[in-house]
């Protein structure tokens, strides 16, 4: 029997699912190798199907999603979260930094129709996650490597070096050194191909923390580059605000006295 696979969506922009749809020829191979039971964006819909691997995109932000992620966990042998939202809250977790009740009242004419949890959380906050793929969005190469390993019955290789190594392998000059730009590369997980430094911008940290990220060392250096505490907090809390290493460095600068 072919391995059964599902792709589930929670609070997210759908961008990570596109990493599947953009696989090109490999997508056809994949659909031959596995039995895709649920993948609404690609066609098959059966959200409660029992599967071997579930890929989960998005964070948990409503009571309905909380119930659904528990069902997904129960019906999946392996659960793999894909993308910044699923692994570390994502952009919508920025509301954890504010009074969301106040915002809802200000934005919506009838806020009583909105049913959300008090905070936006990564999937791992509520259920056991077997593997995480980081990125905003994840890319097809990461997905292929992970699926290929799982199909072969081996543990996928974790990419957790800093972006810097990838950046230098691309032949790019360091933007912190050459332009004094605040760059999250030294604390951010590789996998993106060092896209932003490649176009002369500092890394935004969307792949989340690398192995043992020296966040305080970097934040201290950002201060030296003229960044305010608020700017530093924004760098650390933008894409993966619930990733512990970025959370502590970012939050401590939001609450410090100016």
């Amino acid at each position: 029997m072919k391995p059964r696979v599902a792709v589930h969506k929670f609070s997210s922009c759908d961008g990570c699912q596109l990493a599947f749809l953009n696989l090109g020829e490999d997508l056809l191979t994949l659909f031959e190798l596995v039995d895709v039971r649920h993948f609404a964006e690609a066609g098959p819909v059966d959200p409660s199907a029992e599967v071997d691997i579930s890929f989960v995109e998005g964070s948990i932000s409503t009571p309905d999603e909380l119930e659904r992620i528990r069902q997904v966990r129960n019906s999946s042998k392996y659960l793999v979260t894909i993308g910044a939202c699923a692994v570390a809250g994502g952009l919508q977790a920025l509301r954890n930094l504010a009074d969301s009740g106040e915002w809802m009242a200000a934005v919506y004419a009838s806020p009583e129709y909105i049913d959300t949890l008090g905070s936006v959380e990564p999937v791992s906050e509520y259920v056991k996650v077997d593997m995480e793929l980081w990125g905003c969005p994840v890319n097809s190469r990461q997905l292929l490597a992970a699926i290929g390993s799982l199909l072969a019955g081996v543990v996928p290789r974790e990419e957790h070096d800093s972006v810097c190594l990838e950046c230098k392998r691309q032949g790019q000059a360091c933007v912190m050194v050459a332009h004094s730009l605040p760059c999250m590369g030294p604390v951010t997980r590789s996998g993106c191909g060092a896209l932003c430094p490649g176009v002369n911008r500092g890394c935004y940290g969307c792949y989340g923390p690398c192995e043992k990220p020296p966040t305080e060392v970097l934040a201290h250096w950002f201060t030296g580059l003229g960044q305010s505490d608020e700017q530093i907090a924004q760098r650390f809390l933008a894409f993966t605000p619930e990733a512990p290493a970025f959370y502590s460095t970012g939050r401590s600068r939001l609450t410090s006295d100016d």
């Binding site: 230098k168 691309q170 360091c174 970097l218």
Partner: protein, 371 residues
């Protein structure tokens, strides 16, 4: 004293294009320093106009700035973020592929990189010293590296003696510069109105014979010698010795290692820009249907976790141990492996460290006699 056996002459500045033409005529693709994204990087040269005319570079710990002025000189700077390393030891490349044939047998195919004869213009003495070390590592062994070797044998090197070391340079203290002494095909001394050109190889002689060189005047020789002497004087940084092996290994528990670790990002930029660092890892990229696989090699760094991972165990889990590994290997272990230190004094690890950690200062602190 001029050596009669070594061909040399003066090439007026406006005739530099003839050198590129002669190299192209011999089938070489010319590459040289060009300004891109705020740094000097090797790129293809369509002509001398691509060379960095009137460019100065200010380097200090954690900072690199390209400045433009009205000067006419083309090589009035120390160096860019990369030496020759990426041209030979590719940052990432395919080593071999394997396919499963119909009868279930595995068929392995070694990849030999496509490589064209390449002439590099503007190589520094420190780069040549680093190249010699990389040759020793990749070629002068029982099993020479195929990919490195293919590219190395097609390389024609035009060195330019350094007349403007950066604040971060310390090649005098490692004994590797500022003037190139060997390992080049041609070497240039840049003067205001042209270049003293000297050959260092039979291939260099062939190119030299095609240039209409003028005799070098005593005044020109003096100007070149003065510029070199000045380049020596300009260097303020130094390592505390050329062989620090015993001092470093005697200080493995020095508290300064921990102090550096509080500033170090463990990002690996130092090892990436170092012209002698050669560590790599190999990775497998299997096709989804598992009928074939590609085996890659890419630059690694002793600052990654994977570098010291052995089955179920990371030997160097923290920054203190990783920085110590880098430094004690480069300045200590290399003496046993390669007969000299692995540092050529180019200063790249100082300038390109995002947080400005200075190898000369850290080593001095660690090897200083106790107070």
């Amino acid at each position: 004293m001029p050596n009669d056996n070594i061909a040399s002459g003066f090439l007026p500045g406006q005739d530099l294009a003839l050198l590129l033409t002669a190299l192209a005529g011999q089938g070489y693709r010319c590459i040289g320093p060009t300004v891109r994204d705020g740094a000097l990087v090797y790129d293809s040269l369509d002509g001398v106009e691509d060379l960095p005319s009137g460019v100065h570079i200010q380097q200090s710990p954690g900072s690199y700035r390209v400045e433009f002025n009205q000067g006419k000189r083309l090589f009035d700077w120390a160096n860019g973020p990369q030496a020759l390393k990426p041209l030979l030891f590719a940052p990432r490349e395919l080593l071999w592929q394997v396919e499963r044939s119909a009868d279930g047998q595995l068929r392995f195919t070694q990849q030999t990189p496509e490589s064209a004869p390449t002439a590099v213009i503007g190589v520094r003495a420190c780069d040549l010293a680093a190249l010699e070390l990389q040759d020793r590592h990749f070629l002068e062994t029982e099993i020479p590296d195929n990919c490195y070797g293919v590219r190395r044998h097609q390389l024609f090197l035009v060195a330019v003696n350094c007349t403007r070391p950066a604040e971060t340079c310390f090649c005098v203290s490692t004994g590797d510069g500022p003037s190139a002494r060997h390992g080049y095909d041609l070497v240039l001394d840049e003067l205001d109105d042209g270049f003293i050109v000297q050959s260092g190889s039979a291939r260099g002689n062939e190119i030299l014979a095609q240039l209409e060189l003028q005799p070098v005047s005593a005044q020109q020789r003096n100007a070149a010698a003065d510029a070199t002497a000045q380049a020596v004087d300009m260097q303020s940084r130094q390592l505390p010795g050329r062989n620090l092996r015993d001092q470093l290994f005697a200080n493995l528990d020095h508290p300064h290692w921990e102090e550096v670790a509080t500033r170090c990002l463990s990002c690996g930029n130092c090892t990436s820009v170092c012209p002698t660092c050669f560590c790599y890892r190999e990775l497998e990229q299997p096709a989804l249907d598992r009928e074939s696989s590609r085996h890659y090699r890419e630059w690694d760094s002793c600052f990654t976790q994977g570098h010291s991972y052995i089955h179920g165990f990371v030997v160097r889990p923290d920054t203190r141990l990783r920085y110590r590994q880098w430094l004690t290997h480069k300045l200590g272990g290399w003496h046993d492996q390669y007969g000299r230190s692995g540092c050529v004094g180019c200063g790249r690890c100082i300038a390109w460290c995002p947080v400005g950690i200075d190898i000369t200062k850290e080593v001095s602190a660690i090897t200083a006699p106790p107070e």
